[in-house]
Symmetry: C3
Subunit: 641 residues, 3 copies
């Protein structure tokens, strides 16, 4: 799709409705200001109702209707959910779980990511779409598959096992290297034949953590290979049409998105912030920042979101009046060039019929449709925002291998990346400091400050990268349990944190995780919990010490001048207020300026292109930067005002 | 069994005891006033210890002993638990769960309900019983199987799959109709070959809800077919002997009992109210009302209950002195012509040895036996109550398809039918208004008021039926989320609640389910929670509005004059007091008179035939309708007194 | 190993490290005062990297290095974790769970305990070790397998099924006896062919409890047979070398240890008290007492414990300074002749890398190593304690069959043996009374008092044994729900508690388990909960009665003079204070004298040989028996002082 406007639209599933409804759909789309729809995501069984018998007539008709109405089509290849006949003819394509249970068709995403049979059939279907619609005027974007890994992230079948072996061969070359990488002398797990290499199926107790980690890496790659198989076909047949698939904006380690992003022509995001959650908009901000960063700063699309209630988290709370508008503007502010809903018309049957839509079960004479149509008109007015960029001086390091490994069994404490990342992102958001979300190996040259939440596992390259950043005058804020393991989940020996001792100017002698409700007071008057490193400074200055708890008198927070920069280290989890103070202090030191100063709490400010977006997440009116904002209100100000 | 007395007795399992014990059993039965026993429920392995080798000698002897003692026998066909050799010779008869695990013998009920092998073997055994005992003077009733579906409600094996397909063929005729009924265009689930139709086995995410619902309907029918296979044989060989099986009085959607009831000559109820639960007697009242209504008002039997502690809900609290007497009288008051216990003599071994019995492990010199024997004598004095009826002017609508579908995944809120039905039944019970429990399609002509708790799914016939009831001058009380879906779980489009908009005189624009502890105040001074419909009145009068919460100012409770009657609608869950006031008001309006007025709280009054039963569920004495009732006391008053 | 010193050491896994590290290990071992190491536990894949290809060279080298350093070796047979090639070549040796899922290799202990293929291979490997190292000067002890049953306690595969049948044949002889023992007339479970006898796989509902119980007995024996298979080979080839395996000191019914102990030349204990648990030291005391008693009073070894944090219970709290010293002295005080750690050097990779060790990831320049080395020196000074005994006048009855059966489904209340045993052990520990932990059939002649926590299941022999003890002048303290069932989990009929009515001088008419938070007051001013027997005294004196609750006015605690002794009975669970008073009173009556009087709370006193150990579990200093003890301090006083 062209970045010549803020696109507005929805998933459109006309095959669920009789032909008579389609013209009415087009009429309402125009009324709502729809510029684009995603078509055909679950169309496989409709375009190929029996093996080899195809019926594209209905789709031809819909494409024409949309084209005539000037609505751009993000056309899906229909491969997200194979037809029932496909599973019957190729039962080995059904995924198998850790216990060996082969999953049944009857929901969606019931395919083994490693299956060559599935991949070929999917590529074949994509080719049919490409040949038939490649030159259709309505075609604007290919949408491959759908929400890869949302339900089936891993498969433990024999086909996957073979594929896993091939992947490991490519990664490690020989078994000696694999044995070394997996530390197989522990518990007598040494492998002497490739046939002995297995996925981490249900076993008597904790599995080999390096095997678990590699299996997740492999599974992400196996899903990506599904995408690539279709993409190759599409690129060859329709070289000018951009291609994407929709990534998930949620706190689950679905796949290693940084390795996916270069394969997408535009990054597309499915985002379902929870209306019941008072902090949902902060998470949403994070995911927009992540997606924008995955695209290297280029605009992304919010490919799916809900107009109101979401179906799978009962109670399904609707979005109150104004909330969808607010969150849609947030998307645009943070880099999206499109706001699209799942779905256009609420389904009458099936598993998601209580998911809100643009057109409800009751029709269009209601709040949801009216609000959506008004928003469509409003976004049309932001045409010149499209294609512009969102500047950021701070980078937050976020790594999937670290996420996967940190949450494996038998870590010193049950740390969870979502909580850990949120704890670092929230104070930055509150300060109205825009953040890019980057890998540990990313080019950090543009950033004044790099924030590193709990990077347990890190590559040598990442360690050097962060070191270089500080040495060259950058600043760093890092939390405990970072730099402990290498890429194979092997401890970096010789004193924690092996990768960062010199950078941080300290040694951690022991980890003292705190129990459930246990807290420790700091000499700054604040509290901490969850974890306490026993820090032995080796050059670092102590910013805070424990007053009580198991490490009373010992350092809790330190700062180390290193090269031309500084590295601040948190050996514990300070309370929210302390965290905010520390972040504020570090920002000041790094010379990072917020987008706007002195805004009331709950007001988000983002600069995009020449616009300043002010978003009031409060249910009361506020005065922000001289502008009055209604409850849940939005202002888009031209810069220079 | 003849309805010439209130039967009193127990399950009798003499095969667990040496012959010497049997005469002592008979002696104690006489002492306890036992008139009937259920014999042979788990006798298959005893009467056919090896394939084809039968041994009925012990049963002959017991039948004769009972016959000589004048004790009627409800004779089981012994098919509830196949012998171990049967499972070994026919492993395909063992049930398979959703994950594909084939269950093992070694507990009970280990048969696939669709298995023709099991059904034939069971019918064959029933025939042997019929031929041998069909003319035995002690035989009073055939007891087929036992607690169908108590543990194995559904089977996912290949045999069941084939049977499910046949059932669907019979229901829908062709695949187009099935695809339409199951809304299979959603998620690309269209079926083009009957071989693709599967039971809802474990899948990547939510299954097709219409498939889930039909599978439960089918599973109920498959169990019923087991019953019918035996019943046909018995009816042919012993045409004069009544036949039944025992239904479960519990808050689980075991099977669609309304379709079972016409197949039973007398409705038999297994009822285990929990002595720990202070509201157990209200649930018990409900289940008696349900069973009486299933029999069309004819007396039912309480086929199983406990003299004291129940074994499977640890801690197993005994019934305190008087409680068994009270609850047994409640059964009679609400229409039972029999009070029977599981079991006569507490087992020394096996999984239920801590279930109380008439004769305990310690023998008969104890409280339980003494109380039971006294009760036996007392019930003998109620001989002329047998066969009489319990009048009711209120009907409560209760539907299994609605129950199954409402509790499927991804509903707007996690509503649970047990809670929802109890919330409507309790205020009626407290007002001492007797209630029939009916299907939505039942003949409602005799009722002044029909109460409809949350009838999410309803057939067109049901919708017309309720409409007709109000039009003709009846009254209706209905709760939110009713009339939303048709029999295939497809939304009735055009505005909620599709089936009842004109009847209720309103439209519901959106559902606003409330979160966990969230409440909303009403302008009546009461509170509500769980759910809030956004109601747009279209003729209905507003009885209460929200004062706060997400729908402040909007209607919460409405009433609509429709034809000659009224339809009252609750768009939320009011608190208990508000619910009671509303029910009281609706009863007044409908002209329903309680069985008795002005009784103390906790006293239950039921009219049966010419008797008024007064049951004091309090642990203190009360004066009720001029009668003094001891704690847990009972009075059975001749009417006209 | 010789009992000529308090051994000090660790599991040593040199195969995880390059050869260069080994001399450094030896140097540090000497520095730390290490006298012994356990070698080779997970060495199978290292000594036999491919089927039939052996490589002992590295082990030869390590044995020599240790021998030269004068460090004794507890040499493992390496059979705890078969190599991956073994599982591939013999997939039928992988264990199968209750649902039929075959577990995968990739963690450890992945073998079916009944597998003849595994047993033969393990014995073969043991023979290779024996032949190669049987005369090596460093060899001091054979360590067979490792932590049998820690993860795989039971297997439900076909091989296990056949083995279970053979075991049952040996136990019961014929099917009639089996049917009787298993009470199979209940639920039609009569078995007429050995082929019908199955392990208790997943079934529709509660399994036969006697089958469950026998399967656990069998599974313990199957594991023991694995140990014995190796032991036979070792004994034959190296008759002079003692043999053991390490038992688990944890609150799980791993295996019937009393039947294992006679097969071990020295009892070895793996003990991981939880640093987060403030009562961990009391549990530790119990397990030392149990292990010492299993060895008939002979010293045991603490074969594994942690220097600091444990890896599998996140958060992994380290042991604070002094705690490891304190707990190590506790081991010695209660009979251990060795204190050994898992492990010598913390692993860099694998599932347990965050388990603390003697040498940490950071090396030896830290608190843990310094404390450990200091302890090594200190224990060297206790050389003459080695081999001495710990006297006890009180026996606590602890039985695995009772444990297994009491926790099966559908008991009157959910009693848990760990809580029950702790409730009886704690007041004895607080009184500084040393306790032996014995089977119900043990020789009780040396004990003044026998404490019997909730012995639901007991053999006739046990009943006679306890009776004889009291008759002969001993004293007894027994808790409710004892003596109810025989060894086959069949109720002892004729009145509870069948096995002990005459001994206790009472009858229990009904069990009245109390619900969740429910309590009953006693006329002693104390409270009780969990359970209330309805006691009818038949000779017993009433010590306390219920003031309220369901049994108000009835006896709660009784005492019966029987023969020359007394039997005190608790029909409920008194609160902690009441329990302590009762225990104190019973000790006085039995003439039992504590090790020391008038110690401050939290100070443990144990006599071993001619030493009095005083252990201060408080975090403050105390004055105990005239000795000043620092926080977590230890004093070892020569008796006669």
């Amino acid at each position: 799709m062209k970045h010549d406007r803020i696109h507005f639209g929805a998933d459109y599933n006309p095959e669920q409705w009789p032909r008579e409804v389609w013209p009415e759909d087009i009429r309402l789309m125009r009324e709502a200001g729809v510029t684009a729809v995603t078509l055909g995501i679950f169309s496989w069984a409709s375009v190929e109702p029996e093996p080899g018998r195809h019926d594209f007539s209905w789709l031809d008709e819909v494409m024409d209707l949309l084209g005539e109405a000037g609505i751009a089509v993000s056309l899906a290849t229909g491969t997200a959910s194979p037809p029932t006949w496909f599973s019957r003819l190729h039962p080995e394509t059904l995924p198998v779980n850790r216990d060996g249970v082969r999953l049944s068709p009857g929901s969606r995403q019931h395919y083994c990511p490693s299956s060559p049979v599935y991949r070929e059939a999917a590529a074949g279907l994509a080719a049919l779409f490409a040949k038939r619609y490649g030159t259709h005027p309505a075609l604007a974007l290919w949408h491959v598959g759908n929400e890869y890994g949302c339900h089936v992230r891993e498969c433990y079948c024999e086909v996957s096992t073979e594929d896993f072996r091939a992947w490991l061969r490519a990664r490690y070359g020989d078994l000696d290297t694999l044995n070394d990488a997996w530390s197989t002398t522990f518990w007598s797990q040494r492998v002497s034949d490739w046939a002995d290499v297995l996925p981490p199926r249900t076993a008597p107790t904790f599995r080999n953590p390096a095997q678990e980690l590699d299996f997740r890496r492999f599974s992400s790659d196996a899903l990506l290979a599904c995408y690539r198989a279709e993409r190759e076909v599409l690129r060859e047949l329709t070289p000018g049409v951009p291609i994407t698939t929709n990534l998930m904006g949620m706190w689950e380690a679905v796949a290693d998105y940084p390795s996916w992003a270069p394969e997408l022509d535009v990054v597309a995001l499915d985002l379902y912030p929870e209306p019941k959650d008072p902090a949902a908009h902060v998470d949403a901000a994070f995911f927009h920042d992540q997606m924008r960063s995955l695209g290297g700063g280029r605009p992304h699309l919010m490919m799916e979101t809900a107009t109101s209630a979401i179906s799978y988290r009962p109670p399904n709370r609707p979005k109150r009046a104004g909330l969808n508008r607010l969150w849609s503007h947030q998307a645009v502010a943070r880099g999206a060039d499109g706001v699209m809903y799942f779905q256009w018309r609420a389904s009458a049957g099936g598993a998601e019929k209580f998911h809100s839509a643009v057109v409800s079960h009751g029709g269009s004479d209601n709040r949801i449709f009216r609000e959506t149509a008004a928003l469509g008109a409003e976004l049309a007015g932001l045409r010149d925002v499209a294609g512009t960029r969102v500047p950021a001086e701070v980078a937050l390091v976020f790594d999937y291998a670290n996420w996967w490994s940190l949450e494996l069994d038998a870590r010193p404490a049950e740390l969870r990346i979502p909580e850990r990342v949120r704890a670092h992102y929230l104070p930055l958001w509150r300060e109205n400091v825009t953040v890019d979300v980057v890998t540990p190996e990313a080019d950090l040259s543009g950033y004044r400050l790099v924030v590193v939440p709990n990077l347990y596992l890190c590559t040598d390259e990442a360690a050097a990268n962060l070191r270089r950043h500080v040495e060259g005058g950058g600043h760093l804020l890092m939390s405990f349990f970072s730099g402990i393991a290498d890429a194979c989940d092997r401890i970096r020996l010789g004193g924690y944190p092996g990768a960062f001792r010199d950078l941080l100017g300290l040694r951690v002698e022991e980890f003292w995780p705190l129990s459930g409700g246990e807290t420790a007071r700091l000499d700054t008057g604040r509290q901490a919990d969850l974890w306490a490193d026993h820090i032995v400074p080796e050059g670092a200055e102590v910013l805070a010490r424990y007053v009580d708890g198991p490490l009373a008198g010992e350092p809790a927070v330190t700062r180390h001048a290193f090269g031309a920069g500084t590295a601040t280290y948190l050996g514990t989890r300070p309370d929210e207020r302390a965290m905010r103070e520390l972040v504020r202090d570090t920002l000041r030191r790094a010379g990072v300026r917020p987008v706007a100063f002195g805004l009331p709490e709950g007001v988000e400010a983002v600069r995009r292109g020449d616009r300043l977006f002010l978003l009031n997440h409060n249910d009361h009116p506020v005065l922000a930067a001289g502008t009055e904002l209604a409850p849940l209100g939005v202002a888009v100000l031209k810069e220079g005002r």
